[in-house]
Symmetry: C2
Subunit: 371 residues, 2 copies
Amino acid sequence: MSTRGQPDTESTDDTTDPGSTGSTGSTGSTGSGPTVAETGEFGLIRAITRRLPVGADVLLGPGDDAAVVAAPDGRVVVTTDLLVEGRHFRRDWSSAYDTGRKAAAQNLADVAAMGARPTALVVGFAAPGELPVAWAEQLADGLRDECALVGASVAGGDVSSAAGIVLGITALGDLAGRAPIRRDGARPGDRVVLAGRIGWAEAGLALLRAAELPPEILRAHAEVVDAHRRPHPPYALGPLLAAAGAHAMCDVSDGLLADLGHVAAASAVWIDIDPTALPVPGPIRDAAAVLGADPLTWVLTGGDDHALVACLAPTALLPAGCVVIGRVLAAPTHVGPDGTRPDDRGAGHGVLVGGLDYRRGTGWDHFRQVT
Amino acid sequence: MSTRGQPDTESTDDTTDPGSTGSTGSTGSTGSGPTVAETGEFGLIRAITRRLPVGADVLLGPGDDAAVVAAPDGRVVVTTDLLVEGRHFRRDWSSAYDTGRKAAAQNLADVAAMGARPTALVVGFAAPGELPVAWAEQLADGLRDECALVGASVAGGDVSSAAGIVLGITALGDLAGRAPIRRDGARPGDRVVLAGRIGWAEAGLALLRAAELPPEILRAHAEVVDAHRRPHPPYALGPLLAAAGAHAMCDVSDGLLADLGHVAAASAVWIDIDPTALPVPGPIRDAAAVLGADPLTWVLTGGDDHALVACLAPTALLPAGCVVIGRVLAAPTHVGPDGTRPDDRGAGHGVLVGGLDYRRGTGWDHFRQVT
């Protein structure tokens, strides 16, 4: 874990404990206290790592060239994401704490989606020198608390300077002897099962993007807005669905249709979603009413909630907390109102809604016609 | 491995094979061919992954929520670095290929510095839409070729958009039953051993920074300039030094004195470097002559070559390719020309050069006095 950059300003002064301004605020402001440049690279590392307890799976934590993490299975699940300020998060929309929760969550969910138990994160952190150290500390708190939900911890990392904040998060996990649940195992006849929320983060993002909305509207829809800031992946259901015999699984990061599209393509099957089985909770309907939006579109296409979707044999017993939302087909069975079939393009795989193509924007769109 | 960003432009078109302009050029220009925005996120992923053969340790490669990598030891060594354009690399100084080599090298070296064998990388890649796909392809080639030196491979990754290029590299490794070699195990009486080059990358950077230098000077010192672009860590010597009984080890990423300073602090010892034992090769002396610089300063303080330094018992047998450059002391033994001792500050640990303090800038500086 090198900490060297070409033009980095370094200082060995350790000016820490800057007085956090609260870890769950809804703005990116962290107010007073020293900046990253004032504290220096090694002071920053100390400020962060002192907030990060090392869990049982971390055999050697921060402070060396590399960390050592338990991999009792003899294999390790690994996934990585970059989060770039202004692209993946905004400091005026999400607190440092929530950014840490979300950054951890999206990687831990990827581990769970393989049917594995997350064990550790390593975190690359680049930031401008004027960033308050308190922001980095609250980020660390968010990473720590999200990891704690699954018994994982931050094993190490790297800090450097950049014009904007960048996070590089890598999560590790253990399969406990099970096969990883891939995207390419769905079989015709399988049930499609959803665990966790979908549409919430997209609804929250839509509210935040509606710049003309007064603050009291955002406050009235806080549950939805907060869903953008902090997902709630159903981590425990990943290994449980694997143990239940899932043939395929993924997390919903790009949207239900998009991610099931990846499963369908990898498995060379059709996946038919039953729109009447999809949960569309009241808070999402209410947010949609404010914006004149279609809540089902959010549910079908909104990402960033990190739900899990899995395909299991119809005889499989399902863990509590799952909803059957569709089935896997060898081929489409319906004919659209204009006489075309979903597979007229010859893809040989795809995702259907109510047996028919779902398309946004142009073309016929069965689903939008019936909502 | 989510690929979702809030404002990302996505396309499912796959326009690839853009005609690389050569993989080892010394400029960042990659010329013609489609851009990342034209190819789209998934086309970019395909363009990159098709260049990345999956090695024997990668049990499940790119294309799922996470990869699965062998961890036969039951533990996994993990290290991560962020590389930010303009901070850690410049496209006008380093080719995409060399940037890939260097990004992989600095992480693989961290794994080797624990005494482990690198098994896999995962790579986060963020770039502006106008970046030529060829640049990303050449980066992938560089990652691939550096990994191949140690039998590792790229197991997976993540792509997204950003104003400048950002790389998040995570390396994994296997300890093969050995204890990880930490920084805190150096013991008084140990020999300090160097494997690999030091001072080269710093000399090359100094030449590149000297903006007034004509191109023919850079060409005449190509070996030194290239050392900045692409380090040559002595990977195999990491596990060999571990097997030889190294008590402590680290890679030289921040500079010999700085990194040995971390070893000395963690081990609560003094490390005394013998300046006459340090290699100062002709190309570094020649580069120093051009700039009127002190080559020994580069050797003592220059980073980014990713040599390995280790502390071993004086009776230990050393693998070929190592040089003894100093020894570990319980306390300083020399008195400086002004009558002060190195430990007058009461640190209780530190790095000495020829038995005395080495300080840049102010204060007495034995080492500069004798060179």
